[in-house]
Amino acid sequence: MQLKSRHLLGLDGVSREEIGAIMDTAFSFKKVLKRPIPKVPTLRGKTIVNLFYEASTRTRFSFELAEKRLSADTLNFSTSSSSVLKGETLKDTIRNIEAMKIDFVVMRHGASGAPHFLARCIDASVVNAGDGIHEHPTQALLDMMTIQERLGKIKGLQVVIVGDILHSRVARSNIFGLKTLGACVGVCGPATLIPREVESLGVTVYPHIEDALAEADVLNVLRIQLERQKGGLLPSTREYRQLFGITRQRLEQTNRKVTILHPGPINRGVEIDTDVADGPFSVILDQVTNGVAVRMSVLYLLAGGKGKFEGEGNE
């Protein structure tokens, strides 16, 4: 199996077959992770740089663990302890890293398009670990894997993404991926935080959470990103909770089994209540487990294809 691109920059333009291959491979890796020795030698000798220009715990740990489970060598670069503080430009940083002969760069950056810029500059494969308000493809892949695992399918499901859609790279990647796999996608949130053109992506807009809950099989509840709320688009977190918060009461009123996802970290009592986040319909911790498997799968599939031999041979 070969992915068309040697980078994973987003899910926009990634085919159903490719997403299927990534998920199938991820399920195999999930079994590896459950073994007494949860490690395979496949990427021995490969070097991966984790280039994180934005704060991240879960995603960076998840990538790092995935890399180590595949036996790759990893380097971590975070802006708080690096040459960026000394004024180095992104291009200079990239050229220096390239000179160290590395195979992969996993990049998170606050600017949309930064990994695309990187991919044009270097020979290594680039994996986007979240760029600005653009895409976060591995998060969407692990979300879809978790839905597939829980409900046995994705095609035909009604998946509603709730929260700040405007600033959410998770929402964008999920919309692209889920539409490709044939799900019906909706978004729900304050009108100020819904992009105006979102319906052109084939997405239904739900102004009220009750309407979303009445139709959704899956809710993907986004974190209210306080750091991206400087423009006054949201009056207060308290008002947000009243209008869009996922509470047990709201769930009970629907009387339907709605699977609840959340990319983390959770603001308990804001976008989701504790008894929902820890309740029987929540798959939030499955998402974290699946994240490692999905990232192993992506790295594995991108790592192939450097050789010249066709096919798998006799032995």
């Binding site: 079994k31 073994r35 050789g307 031999f309 006799n314």
Partner: protein
């Protein structure tokens, strides 16, 4: 590609597997601690047949597992694309068990090297014994089978194909020349 020789038909394949089963039981003095692990794709089918014939002879259902060695291959860097990863499905602990590792064709020995490493990551077996349907020679690693269905001298360019009903819809073992 043309067929140079047919080494076994379905009857011959059956008889050979029967003999291998008897040899396995004889060498291990029964089924105590025995488990069977087949290497995808086809070793797992052969492993299933050996399990069934052990059950017929001894009335014991020996645990069986499927091993996928893709992640342990030594030629990953040289392939044109990432090979498809399938699941390893061994739902019992192999520690202190006698593992009968089953594959269809033994050739360079590289698959077996990968399989041994993969097994070691699952536990510490008491022993591992190798059973193959065909040994075609040309080893590149010091690997030797404990149970051999048929020794077949081949040229390096030739290919030995084992066709099984479950995978290929027919039953035979053939040698193909390019």
């Amino acid at each position: 590609m043309k067929i140079k020789a047919e080494l076994m038909d379905s009857h011959g394949l059956n008889r050979t597997l029967q003999r291998l089963t008897h040899e396995i039981l004889e060498r291990n003095q029964g089924t105590g601690e025995l488990v069977i692990v087949g290497i995808r794709n086809r070793g797992d089918v052969l492993a299933g047949r050996i399990q069934r014939s052990i059950q017929k002879l001894e009335g014991v259902r020996v645990p069986i597992g499927i091993l996928d060695i893709t992640l342990y291959r030594d030629d990953f860097q040289r392939l044109a694309e990432s090979p498809v990863v399938q699941e390893t499905d061994i739902d019992f602990d192999i520690t202190d068990r006698k593992v009968i590792l089953v594959d269809d064709v033994l050739y360079t020995g590289r698959t077996i090297r990968a399989a041994l490493d993969a097994l070691m990551d699952l536990g510490r077996p008491a022993s591992i014994q190798l059973a193959v349907l065909v040994d075609r020679g040309h080893r590149e690693l010091p690997v030797k089978a404990d149970y051999v269905g048929k020794n077949v001298p081949t040229a390096q360019g030739e290919e030995v194909q084992v066709k099984l009903q479950e995978v290929d819809g027919e039953e035979k073992v053939i040698v193909i020349v390019p």
